[in-house]
Amino acid sequence: MSDVATKEVVREIPIARDVVTREAGKGSGRVSSTRAPSSIEAYREDFERQESGPAWLDDLRAKAITRFETLGYPTTKNEDWHFTSVAPIAEHTFRLSTLHSAGALGVKAADLERFGFGQAEWHRLVFINGVFDESLSSFEDGGGAVRVDSLADAIKSGEPAVQQHLGTVAKFEQHTFTALNTAFISDGAFIELARDAVVDQPIHLVFISGGEGVSHPRNLIVAGRHSRAAIIESYVSLRDSEYFTNPVTEIVVGEGAHIDHYKLQRESESAFHVGTVQIREERDSQLHSFSFTVGGALARTNVYTSLDGDAATCTLNGLYLTDGTQHIDNQTSIEHIAPNCPSHEVYKGVLDGRSHGVFNGKVYVHPEAQKTDGKQSNNNLLLSPTARVDTKPQLEIFADDVKCTHGATVGRLDELAMFYLNSRGIGRETARTLLTYAFAADVLETIELEPLKKELEKMVLARFTDSPAG
């Protein structure tokens, strides 16, 4: 339009294809068990058996299960799943988990302390295989200004915000796993912040899973005008088992509201996790998202945000650490709908063993979204010759006065830096730990919640310190 338009697309270092394509095709040797009925039929059976809710919810669930059946599982021909095969999930029949008590999973108070990082003053809602456990939870429902409750209770008591927003942010038409989650909406967390409400302490949602079934936690966060809160979702388990967690979180960030959202995916190493955090931002709102992923045999985390209002800002950061034969996929999407919105994104990955990491970050700038300022980067460190990463930053710009940059790197430890440390008396193992930690810690620096940052730093350092020589 104007001749001063600055459409800047900077492409950084090209990805080393020789590095990323190595070990292609690995993982196809996985033994899969196909049992009758098919997993899709089993989901339908469990769907029919679930307790009915209010009519509007039953209607939403029914549409969702039908959509799930129509869509089926995504194949690697689907662009969104190009590098991730969900065959291990599709070929496995996960029944709806029935283990809903702390006793069933052997959860003790000390475990909660560990998962809660010893932060006793944080508000804490605990879910066992997706079902709220009041006895393990401790939080204050702030009455009028701050509503914190289980979604099940909020549905039962007919909270207007639930019916108003549920399913409107996380759309399932094109997303199999969101459709599946929606078909089984029953419990999770419901947080509603009234206008100007400020939550003094972080709200920690702890999802403890185990056994061999599936759970579909559903969280709804509605932040009113100029409200503020920090919310943490932790996905953890006590012992290794082959369960499936399929959570969906919807967040509405109202005008001028500020939400810090942290997702810590620390599922057991044999578990499956496909989770979506979907956000809608109104004008002048701020969203800071941090996604920390270390768990699961096959895990996918989606963080999707839509900048609907003028001058809304978002920061989507993340760190994934993979090892063994893990397959960890992170996908983000930032939709610039309104003008004057800055979006910043940094995802880092450290990949060891024969693990496979995937990053796909999309930034769409719609025609009306002038003066968009988007920065996106994805940096990966490969610690072993058999680790692999596929990274695909994507930028689609339909406005002409925008500034967007994106880039991805894949590299190994810098030999010169190694020698520099060695030449100062620091041995190879310590030097490796130090350099790896420094690579990862850099993105942890962006975490504003100090106690969480410290705990994650400790966790990351311990992981690299224990790492065997490579």
Partner: protein, 255 residues
């Protein structure tokens, strides 16, 4: 302290050092001079154990030990220090953490107890003054965003903290203005002692006005072509490297 005998080394198939023989005793300062490509930086890197270089022939004894058998960190733990010509940037690692790790690794290797962060902070105070750097530098990432002069000072500061027995300064004077040069040289001089030795690798004679060497060696084409006292450096300054190369009957330096 250090006995280099007929040392040949290079990168890949390219031979850079073609038979270096040099003896350094405790208390001595040796200057190794030479034109670009003569192999002087390679000598420094090989002595510190950079794995990018391969030694193809010769021996290096250090205090009676086979230096070439030692990993770079073991060399450092035994008192060898290389001040890098191009110090490496390490984002995300603070100088305090880096240097304390180095200090403690060296102490551990020598059967001494490690020091905690507070003790360490105490003991580096006068070392900071020695090279005229502010304490705030300790919290910066190693060399990241440093100016050329800051990087060189940081190298000498590290040397001061680690107090090596054999310090190798690789072109520490390059890129320094005269004030920085003086500060760095004073730092080096204060660390000189009858138990320690220093090898100063340099292209220019300028640094040797401040760090007075006991011996000067001229390297050309991977060999020492001339050795002498400190006056040799002045002669070189006056006549240029062509003078030694011609008088020694060697062609232009290696690439």
């Amino acid at each position: 302290m250090l006995e280099i005998n007929d040392l040949h080394a290079g990168i890949g198939d390219r031979e850079i050092l073609r038979g270096i023989t040099l003896k350094v005793n405790a208390g001595e300062v040796h200057a190794v001079m030479g034109p670009n490509g003569s192999g002087k930086s390679t000598l420094a890197q090989v002595l510190a154990g950079n794995p990018s270089y391969q030694v193809t022939k010769g021996t290096v004894r250090y205090n009676g030990l086979d230096l070439l058998e030692m990993d770079p960190e073991v060399r450092a733990q035994n008192g060898i220090f290389l001040a890098f010509q191009y110090p490496v940037e390490i984002p995300g690692v603070s100088i305090a953490y880096f240097l304390r790790s180095a200090y403690n690794e060296i102490r551990k290797a020598n059967g001494q107890e490690e020091v905690d962060p507070l003790e360490f902070l105490d003991l580096v105070q006068d070392r900071l003054r020695l090279v005229d750097v502010d304490e705030s530098m300790l919290s910066r990432s190693v060399n990241q965003g440093f100016s050329g002069g800051e990087k060189k000072r940081n190298e000498i500061f590290q040397m001061a903290v680690l107090s090596p027995r054999l310090a190798i300064l690789d072109e520490t004077d390059s890129g320094l203005d005269i004030d920085a040069l003086r500060i760095v040289a004073e730092g080096v001089n204060k660390l000189r002692s009858p138990e320690n030795a220093t090898i100063v690798v340099t292209h220019y004679q300028r640094l040797l006005n401040y760090i007075i060497p006991d011996f000067v060696h001229v390297l050309a084409n991977g060999r020492i072509v001339k050795s002498g006292g400190k006056e040799l450096a002045l002669e070189l300054e006056e006549h240029g490297y062509d003078w030694v190369q011609n008088s020694a009957g060697v062609g232009a330096g290696a690439s």
